[in-house]
C-alpha cells in the first residue's frame, strides 16, 4: 500500500515482541509478507478447530497437519494484530497496564460479572480451548490482554460519562446509549413473550419521511413499543420510530424521561410536522387514550380518530401514510369495566378493572402472553394534494375516515385468519 505521496508505507501489524513491524507493506495491502493475513482471515475466530479442544487436540496428534496448525496460528495472530490495530486507531492515547498471564486471569476473575454473560462465557471458553490446544503463546495472551482491558475500560467509561455529561442527545432528547440499554427487554417481549409476527416492512421507505398510523389497544402502550422494536430490529435500515404519545405520559415519573430518551415526542401537530420535516419515521395512534382504555367487549372496534391532526401533518409535509394493524395487544389485559371515580381521584385518564387489576396488585401489570401480528399496509401517497389542503376540513375528515376504514379492514382480515388468541 502507498500513502498520498506515493511512498510505500510500513506494515500495520505488531511483531511478536510487541513493537511496530518495520517491513514495507505489500502492494494493495496494509501488511508485509510476514503478517499478510489469508483471505479467510475474517472468519478465523469461528474456525472449527478453534472452538472445540478435542478436535484440535486430535489435529495436533496428526503430524500430517502440523504445518496446517502452524498456519492457523499465524493467521490467528495476524487477526489479533489487526483487531488491536483497529482499536488503537480509535483511541490513540490508550495503553494497557503491563502484561502478565497471572494478572490476566485475575482481571478476568474480577470482571466476569461486569461483562454480559454471553461475552464472558465466550472469552472464558476461548481461553480454555487455547490452553487445551497447547498453543500457549505470549503474543496471543498479550492480544487478549489488550482487548479485554480496552473493553472493560470502555464499559466503565459509560458509567463515568453519565456523571460527567459526556453523552450525546439530539434535540428531542434521543440518547442511543439508553436505547441500547433497554433494547434487550423489549427484544424479549417481542421475540419470546408475544412472538410478534410482522409483515410489510417493504412498505416502509428505507429513508425519508413517512407516517405510520396504527390502532391503539391494551391499557398500557405496549403496542407502540412493539411497533418500534419491530422496525428497529427487522427493517433493513434499522429505522428508529418516533412515536407521538398522549399528554398524560409526561406527567408520570420515569415514563416521562424514558420516552424522551428513546426519542419519542408528545402528540402535537407541531412536533409531528417538525419530525416529518426532519425526514423521520413517525408513528401515531389517532385513537389516543380512548383506544388504550377500550373494554374487552369493544376489542378491535376502532374508536373515533381524534380531529384529524395526523392527516394535516401528512398533508403539510407530503409524507405518505402507512396504515398499521396490531392484533393481539387487545387481549393482553382483559379490561371488564372502568372506574371514572378512582381515575379522577388518582388523576389518571382512566382506571381499568380487569381480571387481575387491581385485585392482584403489581401482578396486575403483567400482560397475558398472547400471539401478536403487526401488519404494515401499503402507503397512501399524499403527492396529489397540496400543503394548503391541510386547512380543508372536508378533505381532512374524509381522508381520516378513509384511513380508519383501511385499518379496520386490515384488523378484520387478520382476525379471520387467527385461530387462537394465545398461539395464533
Amino acid at each position: 500500500m502507498r500513502n498520498e505521496a506515493g511512498e510505500r508505507i510500513r506494515c500495520f501489524a505488531l511483531t511478536k515482541a510487541g513493537t511496530q513491524c518495520k517491513n514495507f507493506s505489500l502492494e494493495g495491502s496494509e501488511f508485509c509478507r510476514v503478517h499478510q493475513p489469508s483471505d479467510e482471515g475474517d472468519d478465523i475466530l469461528e474456525a472449527e478447530g478453534f472452538e472445540t479442544p478435542e478436535d484440535a487436540a486430535g489435529a495436533v496428534e496428526d503430524s500430517m497437519d502440523e504445518t496446517a496448525e502452524q498456519d492457523l496460528r499465524r493467521q490467528l495472530l495476524a487477526e489479533l494484530d489487526r483487531l488491536i490495530e483497529r482499536v488503537q486507531a480509535m483511541t490513540p492515547g490508550y495503553t494497557p497496564p503491563p502484561f502478565s498471564p497471572r494478572r490476566l486471569l485475575k482481571l478476568i476473575a474480577e470482571n466476569v460479572e461486569n461483562i454480559t454473560p454471553e461475552i464472558g462465557l465466550g472469552i472464558l471458553e476461548k481461553l480454555r480451548s487455547t490452553i487445551g490446544e497447547d498453543i500457549f503463546d505470549v503474543d496471543t495472551w498479550k492480544g487478549i490482554w489488550y482487548m479485554l482491558n480496552y473493553t472493560l475500560e470502555y464499559q466503565g467509561d459509560i458509567l463515568r460519562r453519565r456523571f460527567t455529561g459526556e453523552y450525546e442527545t439530539d434535540e428531542w432528547g434521543l440518547d442511543m446509549e439508553v436505547v441500547d440499554a433497554i433494547k434487550p427487554f423489549f427484544d424479549f417481549m417481542y421475540y419470546k413473550y408475544w412472538r410478534v409476527e410482522t409483515t410489510g416492512f417493504e412498505n416502509i421507505p428505507e429513508e425519508g419521511r413517512a407516517l405510520l398510523v396504527a390502532n391503539h389497544s391494551g391499557q398500557l402502550p405496549w403496542d407502540g413499543s412493539m411497533l418500534g422494536t419491530a422496525v428497529y430490529n427487522e427493517h433493513p435500515t434499522q429505522r428508529l420510530v418516533r412515536t407521538l404519545y398522549a399528554d398524560w405520559f409526561p406527567t408520570v415519573p420515569f415514563i416521562s424521561s424514558l420516552l424522551t430518551k428513546t426519542g419519542q415526542a408528545l402528540a402535537s401537530e407541531d412536533n409531528g410536522t417538525r419530525l416529518l420535516e426532519q425526514e423521520q419515521l413517525v408513528a401515531v395512534f389517532p385513537e389516543g387514550i380512548k383506544g388504550v382504555g377500550k373494554l374487552y367487549k369493544d376489542r378491535y372496534k376502532l374508536a373515533r380518530f381524534g380531529r384529524g391532526g395526523f392527516i394535516r401533518m401528512a398533508l403539510t409535509t407530503g409524507a405518505p401514510i402507512l396504515p398499521v394493524s396490531i392484533v393481539g395487544a387487545e387481549e393482553t389485559y382483559i379490561s371488564l369495566a372502568k372506574s371514572p371515580l378512582i381515575a379522577n381521584l388518582l388523576g389518571l385518564p382512566f382506571f381499568p378493572i380487569s381480571l387481575t387489576w387491581p385485585w392482584m396488585g403489581p401482578l396486575g401489570f403483567v400482560p397475558l402472553p398472547t400471539k401478536w401480528y403487526i401488519d404494515i399496509g401499503e402507503p397512501i401517497q399524499m403527492d396529489s394534494y397540496s400543503p394548503d389542503d391541510a386547512s380543508n376540513v372536508v378533505l381532512t375528515t374524509q381522508l381520516s375516515d378513509q384511513v380508519r376504514n383501511i385499518i379496520q379492514d386490515m384488523i378484520f382480515l387478520r382476525l379471520a385468519q387467527r385461530k387462537s388468541v394465545l398461539f395464533g
Binding site: R162, T164, T169, W172, P250, T251, P253, L266, D270
Partner: protein
C-alpha cells in the same frame, strides 16, 4: 445632539442595563441616556445619567425634551416571590414607560422578556414558537409579571401600530458573572432534580443576551422573538456539565416544599429556576424567527455556555479530568472555535450589518 441617535436605557444600574449601555457607548453613532434611581458605578464615561423612577409622571417631558428615538426597557425586578411592590414597578412601571413613549413620539421600544412566559407543562410541544399561549407560572413573581406585561403589550401593539415594539424572550441565562435563576440554581454543589423526570433545557449565554439586545436597538425588528443558543440539553446532562451532583427528589415533596418555602428569603427562589414545573416539563422555544427574520446567531452554543460557566466554578471531584488546566484548555478551545465561526459569519454577512458583530 449632532445627528446622534438618542437611546434611553432604563434600569441602567442593574446587570443588564449597565452592560447594554456600556456596549452602546462604545459606538459613536449613539447618544446614551441612562435612567435609574442610582448611577451604574464607575467606568461609564459619556453616559448621560438621569436619576429618576420610571413611574415618574414627568417621563413624557423627559422623552420629548431629549428627543429620545429608542427606549430599551430593562428596569424589571427578577424576584421569585409574589410581591405587590415588585408588581407595581414591573407591570405598572412598564405600562407607564410605554405610555410615555407613545405620548412623546418615541419610535422604538426594545424589551427583555423570558421564554418562561410560555410556562412548563405536559402539553407543551417540543419547540414553542412565539404564538404559543402564555401559560407561565402564576406562583413565581417574575414569570407572573412578565405574563401580565405580555398581555398588556398585545393590546399596546394593536392600539399603537406606529411604535416599533421588539420583545426578546430569553431562556435560562447562564454565564460567569450574571445572577439569574439558573446560575443561582446551579450555585450549590448539590442540585435538586425530580425523580424520574429529565426535561430538555435551553440556555443562552449572558454575553449573547447583551449582544442581541444591542443588535435590536441598532436594527429594526417588530414583534416577538425567542432568542436561544444553538442546541438543547437534558437537565441532568446540564447539571453534569456544570460539574454538580443531581439530588433526585420525589416530585410531590418538591411541590410541597416549594409551597412551604416560597416567600421565605432567597431559599425558595434557588431551589429551582422558576417553579417546580420548570424542572419537570420542557419549555424549549423555537428559534426559527430569530434565524430567518432577525438573522441573528448567538455566539455561544448551549454546551459552550455551560462549559464556560463550569470552568469559573469550583472544580468537580467526580471527573478526574476536570482539573483547572483541563477546563482552561477546554475554554480556550471553545473561544477559538467561536472566533472562527464569527469570522466565517462576518465574511458572509452583507456590509450594513457588520457593525453589530464585533462588539467585544
Amino acid at each position: 445632539m449632532s445627528g446622534k441617535r438618542v437611546v434611553l436605557v432604563t434600569g441602567v444600574a442593574n446587570q443588564w442595563g449597565s452592560r447594554v449601555a456600556a456596549s452602546l457607548l462604545a459606538d459613536p453613532k449613539y447618544h446614551v441616556i441612562g435612567l435609574d434611581t442610582r448611577p451604574p458605578g464607575v467606568g461609564f464615561e459619556g453616559l448621560d445619567m438621569i436619576e429618576a423612577d420610571i413611574r415618574n409622571p414627568l417621563l413624557v417631558e423627559l422623552f420629548q425634551s431629549e428627543s429620545v428615538h429608542t427606549v430599551c426597557h430593562l428596569k424589571i425586578i427578577e424576584q421569585p416571590h409574589l410581591s405587590e411592590s415588585a408588581f407595581d414597578l414591573n407591570v405598572m412601571g412598564t405600562m407607564k414607560v410605554f405610555g410615555a413613549c407613545v405620548q412623546a413620539g418615541v419610535s422604538k421600544i426594545v424589551f427583555k422578556s423570558s421564554t418562561a412566559v410560555y410556562g412548563a407543562g405536559p402539553r407543551n410541544s417540543a419547540f414553542l414558537d412565539e404564538q404559543s399561549p402564555m401559560m407561565g407560572s402564576r406562583k413565581n413573581g417574575y414569570t407572573r409579571d412578565l405574563v401580565e406585561i405580555q398581555a398588556f403589550c398585545n393590546g399596546f401593539r394593536r392600539q399603537n401600530p406606529q411604535v416599533n415594539l421588539t420583545i426578546l424572550r430569553f431562556p435560562n441565562i447562564i454565564g460567569p458573572t450574571a445572577s439569574t435563576p439558573m446560575t443561582r440554581y446551579l450555585s450549590e454543589r448539590m442540585v435538586p432534580v425530580l425523580l424520574g423526570f429529565d426535561p430538555i433545557m435551553q440556555l443562552i449565554h449572558e454575553e449573547d443576551v447583551i449582544q442581541s439586545l444591542v443588535y435590536c436597538i441598532k436594527n429594526d425588528y417588530d414583534g416577538d422573538f425567542n432568542i436561544a443558543a444553538d442546541g438543547v440539553t437534558p437537565l441532568r446532562k446540564l447539571i453534569a456539565l456544570a460539574g454538580k451532583y443531581p439530588i433526585p427528589v420525589l416530585h410531590w415533596f418538591a411541590y410541597w416544599g416549594s409551597s412551604l418555602f416560597s416567600g421565605v428569603g432567597e431559599g425558595g427562589g434557588s431551589l429551582n429556576p422558576y417553579d417546580v414545573d420548570y424542572i419537570r416539563y420542557p419549555w424549549v422555544a423555537d428559534t426559527t424567527r430569530m434565524r430567518k427574520i432577525m438573522g441573528y446567531v448567538p455566539e455561544y452554543t448551549c454546551e459552550e455556555a455551560l462549559r464556560e460557566f463550569a470552568s469559573r466554578q469550583r472544580v468537580s471531584q467526580i471527573n478526574p479530568d476536570s482539573t483547572r488546566m483541563a477546563l482552561d484548555e477546554e475554554r480556550l478551545r471553545d473561544t477559538l472555535e467561536r472566533r472562527r465561526r464569527s469570522r466565517e459569519r462576518n465574511s458572509t454577512i452583507p456590509e450594513g450589518q457588520m457593525e453589530v458583530i464585533d462588539e467585544e
